[in-house]
């Protein structure tokens, strides 16, 4: 009984923490000033947000095939998300999209 309770508490903790990271990633996607910095924000959602939620789901599922599938999902996300980010950043850079450097946040002032 107490084992189930521990799993439930852990599931809560991980999923809520993951949700917070997902939200922070979303806020960053809106708040940050240029494309290259927004990639970092999307990275928060893709790494900690996704992983913590999936780990929380694993605690909720227990020792079943579902946990294995969740682990596989986690592995695929971890393996593919950096490749996609890299491809995006590289394509943008080769296309000549200039990154905003230094502290000059007023260069492209489309943030609020």
């Amino acid at each position: 009984m107490s084992g189930a309770l521990v799993a439930e508490v852990l599931s809560w903790a991980f999923i809520v923490a993951g949700s917070v990271f997902v939200l922070i990633g979303g806020i960053g996607l809106i708040r940050l000033p240029d494309f290259y910095t927004r990639i970092h924000a999307a990275g928060i959602t893709d790494t900690m947000g996704a992983w913590l939620i999936l780990i929380g789901l694993m605690f909720s599922a227990g020792w079943t095939l579902i946990t294995v599938k969740l682990f596989m999902l986690l592995f695929f996300l971890a393996a593919t998300s950096p490749l996609a980010s890299h491809a995006l950043a590289k394509a943008a850079f080769l296309r000549g999209l200039e990154p905003m450097l230094g502290r000059g946040l007023e260069i492209e002032g489309d943030h609020d």
Partner: protein, 96 residues
């Protein structure tokens, strides 16, 4: 409401933010980034939704989405760079 409901709400809110970026995003790449990010959130939403309704059988779908999303992003990037899915050898020297 349990933890899955909380995660669902967070994901929906974050989806709305991503949607804003995909519509407002000044450059093309912002939009592609938004699509990719939206795909990740769809994967998570489907995984969480399965638990929310007590039938976690939808995970297969989430797996397929995760892979489709990745392939889609790579294909879009190849198109924006080469205008062709087969393009690869042109600029090996400069970029590899």
């Amino acid at each position: 409401m349990d933890q899955f409901g909380a995660a669902t709400l967070a994901l929906l809110v974050c989806m709305a933010m991503t949607l804003f970026r995909s519509i407002a995003g000044p450059t093309v790449f912002d939009r592609v980034l938004a699509v990719n990010s939206f795909g990740t959130k769809t994967v998570l939403l489907i995984a969480v939704y399965g638990f929310l309704t007590g039938r976690p059988d939808f995970l297969d779908l989430a797996l397929v989405y995760a892979l489709m999303n990745f392939i889609g992003t790579i294909a879009v990037m190849k198109f924006t760079r080469f205008g062709d899915l087969a393009g690869m050898e042109d600029d090996d020297e400069e970029t590899l």
